[in-house]
Each structure stands twice: as C-alpha cells, then as structure tokens.
C-alpha cells in the first residue's frame, strides 16, 4: 500500500492539485458525455414519437 493515511492520499506528495485536477476533470468530461448521450437518445425518441403521431394524424385526415 502506498498511502499511510487519507490526507497523504489527497495531498499526493504536494502535487494534489495537479493529480486530482486531472482525474477530476477527466471524470467530469466522461460522465458529461454519458449524460449527454442519454439525453440525446431520449430527445430523439421523444421527437420521433411526436413526428410519427403528427404524420399519423395527417394520414387519417387525408384518408
């Protein structure tokens, strides 16, 4: 085990800002991408549902 205590782990030998700044931003970016993908999928399904519903209604009135 490399670390004797939590505070040692967080401090990273004095480089804590740099190491955790890197890891944290990476985590934020990747999580943001996942969230964006989930929201995109929901948005697509929602808009297509509305699109087909509108088209369905149009076809009914035409027929």
């Amino acid at each position: 085990m490399n670390w004797q205590s939590w505070s040692q782990f967080l401090a990273m030998g004095g480089y804590g800002l740099y190491v955790w700044g890197s890891y944290a931003v990476t985590a934020v970016v990747l999580v943001a991408e996942i969230v964006a993908l989930v929201m995109r999928r929901r948005g697509v399904i929602e808009s297509l549902t509305k699109y087909y519903a509108a088209r369905g209604r149009n076809h009914e009135t035409k027929a």
């Binding site: 030998g13 740099y18 890891y23 699109y51």
Partner: protein
Amino acid sequence: MSTSKRFSWFHFSSPQTFYPLAGRMQPWFAWLAVLFCAVGLYISFFVAPTDAQQGESYRIIFIHVPAAWMSMFIYLLMGFWCGVGLVFNTRLSSMWATALAPTGALFTFIALWTGALWGKPTWGTWWVWDARLTSELILLFLYIGFMALQAAIDDQRRADKAGAVLALVGVINIPIIYFSVQWWSTLHQGSSVSMKSAPTMAMTMFAGMIIMALGFWMYSIAAALSRVRCVILERERHTEWVMAEIGGRT
C-alpha cells in the same frame, strides 16, 4: 437437404441490422470499460510506486497517455470509416465516423488538459509550443472542424462526404503527432513505449497505463455505439423499421 444460409460479411452493414446489434454490444463494452478502468485506477494509485524523479505527479500518466493514444486512434478510425463511406457509398460507415468524432475530441481535450497539469510541476510551464503539443492542439481543431462542417451542411449525403474529405486531409496530422518527438528535439519526452523493445518504465506503471488504455478503448466503443444508435434513428426516420421501433415504445 437443409437450406444453408451463407453468412454474409455485409449482413450488418445496413443501419437496420446494425442497430439491434449495437444495442446488444453496448452494455458489454460499457461493463468492460468499468472493469478495466477500475483495475487500472487501482493499479495507478495503490500498486504503482512513487516515481524517483517526479514524485506523485507522474500518476497523471495513467490518464494522459491513454487519452492521447485514444485521441489519435479514434481519428485514424474516423478517417478510415470516412474513406470507406466515400468510396463504397455506405451510409453506415459515415454514421459510424460521425459517431466517433465527439468521443475523439473529448479525449484530445483530456490529453491536452492532463498534459498541461502534468507539465506545470515537471517542466514548470502549463504550455509550450513544441511540435507534439501544437499538433495535438491542431488535432482538437480538426475534430471540431469536422463536427462543425457536418453540422453546417443540411444535405446529409453531402455533409458526410465533405466531412470525409476533411477528415482524410487531416489524417496527415497523426504521424506528425506521433513522430514529432523523434523528428524534433522537443520539451515533451520521447516515447518510453515501443513495439520493438521492452518499456523503459517500471512494469507496474506500464501495466497500469495499458489497462487504463484498454478501459478508455472499451469506453470509446460503448460511447460510439450508443451515439451511432441515436444517429441511425435520426437519419433513418422515414423507414418502416424505425417507425416500428419507436412505435413499440409508446
């Protein structure tokens, strides 16, 4: 005599057949990503020892190098599939290239960001305009340009092909990034990892880096699969099968 169904290599090259396959594959790659990243992170913090020269700041390598590798690798794949779409006129190839781009751009950003945060304690500067950093920055602009060009053109086929030309023109940047540390004496260190000889770093560090790289790779595949499914739904909205797919949800 039973009817034998000849396996066609091109069976999954249509959006309709690829969509469900992507849906089935995506969770596997997502979990593999979680697994590899978990193991990689464990190694990076709890197994790999402190570096003699750089202290703990070197631990950024476990993100920086895999992200840089992915940024270049994804661009090459994007260029490849753009080329296939351009030559063979296959819609799915272009869709896949479009799906890869944002993930590649994000990894390029991560590589640049973590590189800056690593450079400050080790070199004393956040940024330097040497060949490798400059060409990696250019790579980010190439990704953004690709996405902007495709977004600006309304006609989908034209957008795919124009993006393909741009992506292929930009491929020349990748060897520049990779070989820049050999061609020029730069501030960025040379490669410690090569295909021909043993790595010049401790095995635990090397293992951690490779496993994180695998994790990022699995993540990229999972993200791209997820994105290509959205792209397929968006672009194939006029087909029966998409209507059925969406209809089955309401």
